[in-house]
């Protein structure tokens, strides 16, 4: 919890491009008389299709202001998600040490430091992911899975779609897990999942906003398909977890087949989402974070595996965590904030922006 608070403090209450939609969305929900261009800014924005946190910010805004409403809520969401990561890892790996290390690694991840407590709703997306995964485990623990279990999951996923679209990842994951457990012949019993779209449809109809992906077709440009576009994809997603990939690889080699299959199903779903995001929106470490339910528990297993091979287990564990935390904080501090990177920019633009930021920050220090 303390680590979550420290991570939350670096970029607390700062703004990003999307904040321009989240702020007027609160006033729109409060039924204030908005200027025409602000109404367009809200209703045609992608942000307004995630109304749950906006709604809570709307309720808090009269007391602490719009920016603090989002930021403060996000601090509580980071802390809650850190606890849920612990429970999820404990359920999955059945080991206290790896579960604890998973929660610590989550709390000091670069995307958490960089984005969690800004005036955005991304961290709510991580909360619904881990909550959805725990709910999924609850269903798959049942001896006999009934239609009403799927209906509960559909309701949860449906409401989660109104929190953040990252929950889309859980649909193919849930279907794969179910088919893996029950076989193809029972696939039609998943019909209640179709109902998950109902809350989103009701919201779109009530507020007369476009469909989930409306307006995004204009964002699909040639730049995203180019080699440089994919270079950006790799730079951003590798930067998000940096050395954690090495620990996760070690963890993967030491995991049971059953857990590897579970992780594999989630990884396929999450990677499909990330490729989709690369094509219709900007690529950012805050999207890479959707890989955390796979990477973080695996990395925890990897770190414990390294530590167990040495005589000074505790020191090695602490060292691995501190190195990861240090790189994350340094990376978050040096992440390009002074250059506007276009959605379809290539990897060369990202590298140049990083160099500029290093010159700006380090130069500023000197």
């Amino acid at each position: 919890m303390l680590l979550s608070i420290i991570s939350s403090s670096l970029y607390y209450n700062t703004v990003l491009v999307d904040t321009q939609a989240y702020v007027p969305s609160v006033y729109y929900m409060q039924d204030k008389q908005l200027q025409d261009d602000d109404v367009v800014r809200v209703t045609e924005s992608y942000a307004f299709k995630r109304p749950v946190e906006i709604l809570f910010a709307t309720l808090l805004e009269p007391f602490i202001g719009v920016r603090q409403s989002y930021s403060l809520m996000n601090v509580f969401i980071v802390i809650t998600t850190t606890f849920l990561v612990y429970f999820y890892a404990k359920k999955l790996l059945k080991e206290e040490a790896t579960a604890y290390i998973s929660a610590v690694l989550f709390a000091v991840s670069l995307p958490i430091i960089l984005y969690a407590t800004r005036v955005l709703v991304d961290v709510a997306g991580y909360l619904i992911l881990i909550f959805g995964l725990l709910a999924g485990e609850w269903v798959f623990d049942k001896k006999e899975i009934q239609w009403y279990h799927h209906a509960c999951i559909a309701l949860l996923f449906g409401v989660s779609l109104l929190v953040r679209d990252t929950v889309i990842i859980l649909f193919p994951y849930y279907i794969m897990r179910y088919v893996y457990k029950e076989g193809f012949r029972k696939i039609f019993s998943l019909w209640p999942l179709v109902c998950a779209i109902i809350p989103q449809l009701l919201f779109m109809w009530w507020f007369q906003v476009g469909f989930l992906l409306s307006g995004k077709s204009s964002a699909i440009t040639a730049g995203k398909y180019s080699l440089l576009g994919w270079l950006k994809f790799f730079i951003v997603h590798i930067a998000a977890f940096h050395i954690l990939y090495v620990f996760a690889y070690l963890g993967l080699r030491n995991e049971t087949k059953e857990i590897c299959i579970k992780h594999g199903m989630y990884a396929i779903s999450a990677l499909t989402y990330l490729v989709g995001i690369q094509l219709v929106a900007l690529t950012s470490p805050r999207f890479s974070m959707v890989l955390f339910p796979v990477l973080i528990p695996l990395a925890a297993v990897g770190i414990v595996h390294i530590a167990k091979k040495t005589s000074r287990q505790n020191t090695i564990l602490l060292l691995c965590i501190l190195v990861y935390a240090l790189i994350s904080f340094l990376g978050a501090w040096l992440y390009p904030a002074h250059t506007m990177i276009a959605e379809d920019a290539g990897g060369n633009v990202v590298i140049q922006a990083i160099i500029n930021e290093i010159q700006h920050k380090i130069g500023g220090l000197l």
Partner: protein, 124 residues
Amino acid sequence: MIDNLSKQLFWISFVMLIIIFVVQINNGISEHKQSQQAYAAENPEACEAVESFRYQAVCYSRFLDSGYSCATDACYFAYAVHIEDDWYCDKVFPTNVPLNLECRVSVFIERYTHEGLSDCCYME
């Protein structure tokens, strides 16, 4: 194994939190002094001496009604918020990304609450 690790991590993060807390209190005290300085300024030239960008903007905002013409970023920022025009932010801060975003968001807040400068300018 985990007991020792959790104790060590607890103390590391506890000390770091205390440091952050002390730094924040120091910043708060210094900001309070600057806000007093900003409100006490009787001419716009005195605003330049205010260190915090937010309170510099607050300071300038008090002279904008009387037709003061801006020459600093904080004053342009205050003016954009004063006239509630996000396009003006793009005009005066076309390349400074964090300032441009702060400016636009503050304009939106000012439009509907008149508190555009009260919680602004947390720039990286």
